[in-house]
Symmetry: C2
Subunit: 352 residues, 2 copies
Amino acid sequence: MSKKNVNASNQAPLSKVTIVEVAKKAGVSLGTVSRVINNDIHVAAETRKRVLAVTQELGYVANRQARSLAGGKTNTIGVIVRDLGTGYIGEIIRGIDSELNLSGVDLVLYTTHRTVSKEANYVASLAQGMVDGLLLVLPRSPVDYIGTLMEHNFPFVLIDHQGTGTACPAVGATNWQGAYNATEYLIKLGHQRIGFITGSMDLGCAEDRLQGYRSALRTHHLPLETELVYEGDFLQTDGYTGASALLDLPNPPTAIFASNDVMAMGVMDAVRNRGLRVPNDISVVGFDNIPQSAMVFPPLTTVQQPLEQMGRVATQILLGILKKPEKENGRIELPTELIVRNSTSAPKGRAG
Amino acid sequence: MSKKNVNASNQAPLSKVTIVEVAKKAGVSLGTVSRVINNDIHVAAETRKRVLAVTQELGYVANRQARSLAGGKTNTIGVIVRDLGTGYIGEIIRGIDSELNLSGVDLVLYTTHRTVSKEANYVASLAQGMVDGLLLVLPRSPVDYIGTLMEHNFPFVLIDHQGTGTACPAVGATNWQGAYNATEYLIKLGHQRIGFITGSMDLGCAEDRLQGYRSALRTHHLPLETELVYEGDFLQTDGYTGASALLDLPNPPTAIFASNDVMAMGVMDAVRNRGLRVPNDISVVGFDNIPQSAMVFPPLTTVQQPLEQMGRVATQILLGILKKPEKENGRIELPTELIVRNSTSAPKGRAG
DNA sequence: AAATAATTTGGAAACGCTTCCAAATATAAA
DNA sequence: TTTATATTTGGAAGCGTTTCCAAATTATTT
């Protein structure tokens, strides 16, 4: 008969009831109420019950501002990202958010919009007490502030970055291995000349992917030709121009491996625009496994990054640090996985 | 024992300079420093300069917690979204964020993960003083709390929703007109039987799109056949199953209009899986113009929604309300635009 | 039963800032 | 010059919590 039980707070959700009123109504002191809502041991069971009841009845909600001012904790963690455009970062945030939800911690989001200088600024002011800890997603220039952060023992975790030199809590993916596996897969299909389009080389993951590609070639005794490597910046147009350049080579590659899916889409465009077909004439591989990689035509063979999981794990680590700061945390790498779809096949001359 | 000493064992947090130290060093009172950093008129130019200098020198950063406790303002606005998976919402947030950046207001992000009950909860607790205002993106059940919010005069703006009955600040897109135009475009190409796949019908925008489609048919004296309308939920699989159902009809449509791009991709899959071609056999139209709609093959004809702009405008309105609460704000609709790409053509029998 | 220990509670001092009021100073009008 | 007025400043009272200390109460031991 009742479609939903109406909770008492529905009556006047926005009325500001403070701890004082709760204390008065429950006939106890301020301190006791505070202890109850903070689950302090030293409260008689009966008193606790009574206070809780009043709390419910009055629809009391603690004021976070006051709480953190007095207690020195904000119960909030800051997430600093570059932007939200690609969906790539959205996946990571999703992981962060769902993990945070579990512990009732809030998330303050900051975007740096690719402005390097902002990054350090934000870090400084956030660490100044606005948040209890920081999650830095795909940071550009962590060197600028990691030192400060560590010096002051401010809790933070890096997501998808590496090579800061110093050992600090970080979560990433096995970029090297992923690139290695994808390259090896192409080699085993029979490809001998494999083009590569890099990401922003100021990002550790881009460097690792390049090295994974190189190692695979080396392992299989294929030459490392610099003309087959085009430096991109993770944008779709880089894929397009990069592929165009590679296909213009006197001896063009039969497969192109792009450092991310977005560039791989650019590659496919370029291939098609030349009247060639994917994968019949040119095989294409991406990296990330963003949602649309399954939706393009042909569906893209790519390397899956466990993005949501990365966010989740990083958050767990950060919450762990918050609990016991003394614990040492290093870098964690989550496994990537090759997802084979229809954008790859044996090279033409060798088709089976 | 000394009065108040720093607990020696703990590491110092990032050097906490307070207003007191600034005041002391600048040789002025607390109040004056506060006035300076709040740009209060009543400060002598020379005093202001001096205080500012000390501020700089000491690296003072205001403590937000204290600030909002004392001032009653949090300088933060809350954004409530369902999730971040699609990129659709990412675009909106981007607009919000860039606008907020301009005024130095912070953004606290809450995701409801498609849990309706959470929505009301968050709204209640956020409005309890955590934020100065609320931006509700694609709300599911605003009716549950809009009343309360308005009653208490709590500032908020709805994004991409309508039909709450009550007049309240909201920003949306001309969904009706967009669907109308797209349908009319198909009709003018010569299509007589046009399938339609709806979105989640509990969302106003989905309803509007359906009505736009219907109106266009009516205007052009085409019959409204219920068998041509399939109810989806904005997910890719709905596009697939919907299109499959439509194509199984004794008299199948020659064009299919999906209520969003993601479903349109599902439609294209279904069409191809039947050995039919887009657009030669079946024309496909989407809605939203998400980034990947330009990247699929063939590039999708769709209706562009000004997502980032919607976020931007909504934020401006909210900040406006915060400044002068008495101002009345109603619903604003930003124009959609038909983007013609290669997934549409004249129907086969009538090709030109 | 008295003495001691453990548990529970009340009270008050911060936390760092805003803001109001009144005091002090400078400026304009008389 | 004197009085009235405007400008600038200092001081103090909160804002709603947490947390420490001591007081009150209860349980345990001798």
